[in-house]
């Protein structure tokens, strides 16, 4: 059993007949992911990329033994699509759709929590276990199997960093994007817990960015739990202009400056190795490994 997605995954694609849904169904299958059904309301009985399409998730489950879902439906319908997948017991549910109303995401995440479902996203590249399967839109060829778990707030930057690791001969256990929308299913702390308990992960890379407090929360968790696996990080946005503020209350609620420098400093304080530019990450991981072996 691999983390979140693997050979055991039998996924349905919600929104399979759309441009992106259909294109990435093909790429996911080429990578080795089992896509057992698709769902688009009103298109039941047709097929796309050789996959049977159903009108509802429930109808798809009458004919298949799916256990996961990936969602490409437009933002106005994403909350209900997510709930439909959760109702059917699918887990994890990956939501590629971006810009979902915060109120919808809030309700969806509460629903997922109540049902014990893991939501990856929204606005995520998805999740990949290199060499096994991917539920997502990431280009498979930049990833390679190995022991580094990667969690990111960004999509494309994840591919960038995975490709540096791969070129340096450092493979990855599981890579996932927690999602770029204001409200997401997983945060860095959730993923750090998963990687801590995952036997195939021996080091972790966190890819953060300016704004919010996900990095600071992760640093607190690493410190408080004396996190046993080495962690390296990159935080995007040092050169970016100051991010949007949500008025007084926004600044108050995060309780942090939210700048890249502040986040990098906090990571360093708790022993995380921090890259100045993404291309430094492979070297940092190698140094860390060497240091661990010496101990």
């Amino acid at each position: 059993m691999t983390l979140l997605v693997g050979k055991q995954t039998r996924a349905i694609v919600q929104g399979i007949t759309g441009n992106q849904g259909s294109f990435h169904t093909r790429l996911m299958r080429e990578y080795g992911t089992q896509i057992v059904a698709g769902v688009t309301p009103g298109k039941g009985g047709t097929s796309t990329q050789g996959v049977s399409v159903y009108d509802t998730v429930a109808a798809a489950l009458e004919r298949t033994d799916a256990n996961a879902s990936i969602i490409f439906v437009p933002a106005p319908f994403a909350k209900e699509a997510g709930m439909e997948a959760i109702d059917a017991g699918l887990n994890p549910v990956v939501i590629i759709t971006e810009m979902i109303p915060a109120r919808d995401s809030m309700v969806l995440m509460a629903y997922a929590k109540e049902h014990g479902a893991t939501i990856i996203g929204p606005n995520t590249p998805g999740v990949i276990t290199p060499g096994e399967a991917k539920l997502g839109i990431m280009p498979g060829d930049v990833f390679s199997p190995g022991g580094v778990g990667v969690a990111s707030r960004s999509g494309t930057l994840t591919y960038e960093i995975a490709s540096y690791l791969t070129r340096a001969g450092i493979g990855q256990s599981t890579c996932l994007g927690i999602g770029g929308d204001p409200i997401t299913g997983l945060n860095f702390v959730d993923v750090l817990k998963m990687f801590r308990d995952d036997k195939s992960t021996d080091a972790v890379v966190l890819i953060g960015e300016i704004g919010g407090s996900a990095e600071e929360d992760a640093a607190d968790f690493i410190e408080d739990t004396k996190y046993a696996k080495p962690v390296a990080a990159y935080v995007a946005g040092r050169a970016a202009p100051p991010g949007k503020r949500m008025g007084h209350a926004g600044a108050i609620i995060t309780g942090t400056e939210g700048t890249a420098d502040a986040k990098m400093k906090r990571f360093r304080e708790v022993g995380v190795r921090v890259a100045e530019v993404p291309s430094e990450l492979p070297r940092l991981l190698q140094q860390q490994k060497a240091a661990t072996i010496q101990q």
Partner: protein, 379 residues
């Protein structure tokens, strides 16, 4: 989308939230007339979207209509943090017993809405929050059931109120919450929320920020959302009209990429190698040729841009579409500035072939491309 104070208050009034009596003026004479109508002493407030207008001198008092006209004239000629003041709100001056702070805010970490409130309201609330955070009450709301009556009552009680005043403050908090639900606001904030000397609660100031991702279901904001925001430069406005996430910077290297994280990392790397980015431009996920062409034309149309760096790591975006967009610009209007293209990922081979046949070199590694674009070789 940030709403102006007068817009926020007009939504609030419809829900029965107390706001000071007053009116909106675009000229000094209008301000004087409003004062004549409402009488007493008034406050004249700059209508801007940036925060901190009080400290910048954008709030003044008038005891007589002529004085109000002069103060309005001063404020209407101001530019606050880059934002030109176009309107002022003229309101009755309240007899203040106490200044509170009350807010309903989207709490990303806890995935719910949270009430933030304090009996230390006023312009120094951020200082209060950082120096004595215990003075800010935080009360999380259930993400599904939202604010129940007792949620607001608990907060009002903790703020030290009882009897009639407890009920009045509870109602006001409940109405701020209703406003957040009806308009999909990520922030509804009243600071100060004034308790008047006759024990009424009045939203003396009110800020509302509507969740941009919810605008599709709010036809009432459709026209408003098209208006160029005062915080946006003309170039940014043009780019955003075309669906680009765009922030203008002061360097000379135009940047285009896909995905906010990658574009930020691109800026970081260009900086790292000694270059200065002229902009942040994210074409987003799944950009087609036309979208890329539009972005490239906007960037090369910017006078201060001397060279351009396109950095694409294709996932949902496809390299062939990006390449087609670049080639289209080359054909139609020509490439006016030296260009460095880095591409990798989905449909790379096809994208590279398209660019090769148009005589444009493609690099595969981001570092190499960043080093090249910041070097003297590209000028």
């Amino acid at each position: 989308m940030k709403l102006f104070e007068y817009e926020s208050k007009s939504l609030a009034q419809n829900l029965g939230i107390n706001t000071p009596r007053g009116g909106l003026a675009s000229t000094p004479d209008e301000a004087r007339d409003i004062h004549k109508r409402i009488g007493g002493e008034v406050v004249v407030k700059a209508q801007v979207l940036v925060a901190g207008r009080g400290k910048a001198g954008g709030i003044k008092f008038g005891s007589k209509p002529d004085e109000t006209r002069d103060r309005a004239s001063e404020i209407l000629s101001m530019t606050i943090k880059g934002e030109k003041v176009k309107k002022v709100l003229v309101e009755q001056k309240l007899a203040i017993k106490k200044e509170l702070f009350g807010s309903i805010v989207l709490d990303r970490v806890n995935k719910c809405q949270t009430i933030l409130a304090s009996d230390h309201g006023g312009i120094d609330i951020e200082e209060v929050a950082s120096k004595s955070p215990e003075k800010i009450l935080r009360h999380r709301l259930d993400p599904v059931f939202g604010m129940r009556g007792f949620d607001a009552r608990q907060v009002a009680l903790k703020l030290g109120y009882g009897g009639q005043r407890l009920n009045a403050l509870t109602d006001l908090l409940a109405n701020l919450y209703r406003l957040s639900v009806i308009y999909d606001a990520e922030l509804v904030e009243s600071n100060p929320l004034v308790e008047t000397s006759d024990s009424k609660f009045v939203a003396a100031d009110l800020r509302v920020i509507v969740d941009d991702n919810s605008l599709f279901r709010h036809p009432e904001f459709q026209e408003r959302s098209k208006e160029a925001s005062a915080e946006v430069t003309p170039l940014e406005a043009k780019a955003r009209e075309n669906g680009l996430a765009f922030v203008e910077l002061d360097g000379d290297i135009g940047i285009m990429g896909n995905g906010a994280g990658l574009v930020m990392a691109t800026l970081d790397m260009v900086n790292h190698y000694g270059g200065k980015p002229a902009n942040f431009c994210d074409v987003g996920g799944g950009a087609d040729a036309e979208h890329v062409a539009t972005a490239l034309q906007i960037i090369q149309g910017d006078q201060k841009v001397h060279k351009i760096f396109i950095n694409i790591l294709a996932g949902i975006t496809r390299c062939d579409e990006v390449a087609k967009g670049i080639v289209e610009v080359k054909k139609v209007v020509g490439l006016k500035k030296p260009l460095v293209v880095r591409m990798q990922g989905t449909n790379f081979d096809e994208g590279k072939r398209i660019l090769d046949s148009a005589g444009i070199t493609t690099l595969e590694k981001m570092d190499e491309a960043a080093q090249l674009v910041t070097s003297a070789k590209v000028a």
